[in-house]
């Protein structure tokens, strides 16, 4: 009798754990509802205008943690080998800020360029995209 009560209790315990894990992600947007880190960018796009070929230009983005938990940048993914990056810190305390610097090399580039760099974080939305555009002459 004791044994069967234990089995039933265990079953309910695990089914509750499974349900709470499912509830952590919104099926519509795939966001993590329980994350308390939040991010605010000063901008999400830099347009360099007309720039020469074979040169290096830099875009600076400021990130602020507007949440109540530590903001973690877990990955930075430029879509071009011509883009390198520097991040002032990967863990940002609440109300603190960090800088993301994207360096774009226009070697062998020509015409309109559109480059996207994805930031992966521990926020609800998880992914953010920073866009750099230019016309290379």
């Amino acid at each position: 009798m004791k044994y069967s009560v234990l089995v039933v209790a265990t079953f309910f315990l695990f089914s509750c754990v499974q349900n709470s894990q499912k509830a952590e992600t919104d099926p519509i947007q795939n966001v993590d509802k329980h994350s308390k880190a939040e991010v605010q960018f000063d901008k999400e796009k830099v347009d360099f205008g007309v720039i020469p070929q074979d040169t290096l230009v830099t875009a600076l983005y400021q990130i602020k943690n507007t949440g109540s938990d530590t903001l973690k940048i877990t990955d930075i993914q430029p879509d071009c080998s011509c883009t390198s990056f520097y991040v002032s810190k990967f863990k940002i305390a609440p109300n603190d800020t960090a800088l993301v610097q994207l360096n774009i090399n226009t070697f062998h580039k020509h015409g309109n360029i559109e480059q996207y760099t994805v930031l992966v974080t521990n926020t609800k939305k998880k992914f953010y995209s920073l866009k750099n555009t230019a016309i290379v002459n």
């Binding site: 947007q29 796009k45 015409g111 998880k126 995209s129």
Partner: protein, 381 residues
Amino acid sequence: MKSVVKFSVVAAFICFYSCKSEKKSDYSTAKNKSEKLIKFNNVAIDSIQLDSINTSYVGEIYIKDNSLYFLDSRFCFLHEFKKDGSIVHSYIGQGSGKNELPVKNVTFFSFLPSGGSFFMGTGYDCYIFNEKYERINDYAINWRPTHTYEELLDKPDPSIPEMYSLVYGGKVRAYGDDLIFPIVSQHRAYNPTMKTYAAEARIFASMSLKNGYIKDIYGGFPPFFSKNFDFMVFGFPIFDIDQKNNYKVSFGADSLIYDIDDNMNVKKSFGFKGRNMKTEFKNTSDMELFNSNYHEQSKLNGHYTFLEFFENKDLLFRGYSKGIGEASDGLQIYKDNALIADIDVPRGFRMSGIIDNEVYSNAFIDQSKNAIKVYKFKLTN
């Protein structure tokens, strides 16, 4: 012992020849059956706005079972929308979890006849998901390499798969257990900047969806390109496949559409040049300049951009750009061999499919307004 040696020689011989593709297109027997039976000259184009989503704003629209799907190629989400643009569900997403996609950029995607989906990353890495969006298979494309780069420099061979790579920006098509896609050789010793390329190169590859093995490379360019070297800058095929594995093939810079069977016999050709297309193409003889020349030429000149065939309606859609100074792109609609409409569509228009007799476009993205728009128009009878 002698018989063993004999067997080995025969086996090696068979293996060597089975690696080479002999399935080339023969265009010489194709009869031109072009007809013009214009039924309408314009359509009322409407648009729908997709619900706001968390997106990189880099992606494309696909259609399955009367739903629109926006594949976010950077965040790797597949967002499902109703045909009015309202969000239904978001699937997959980038990550290393069991049912996530471990890629930073999706370069090719296709729904599969099984109901599942095919994704490719940037390094020929392929991922298969079932209809419940569970990841069920991963592999890399096996181009069957047997030569070093240097060996191929000395003796390039257009009949072996390892000479080729995918045509990026093109469409892949799933047929049965295979994935079919256009290919191009970008090898220093053999590429489209060479005058012999159009006569010898293969244009398609079939890959096993089970393991990524390149089963065959096949098809070829019509003689038009051997005679018009400058047109090779837009020589890449656009194509669709019907239920019997017959191909409808067109090329960026050739006004004809070719009806080709699964053995690459060209049965017929048809088609007309799009309206107001500028076609003063200039190819380059330097492979290093091929891509920049392509972009330059695509601003100045028009070319055919996509082809979609709907067997149940016997309708073929072919889109084209017109070149510098033109405010719109064009869309031709063929029924059987006959051109029944050649209409103006917004610049950049591609077709994602048909739902309830309405044609839906690709995604038109305005990141400054956080907006993704899809054009649509009704097919008239």
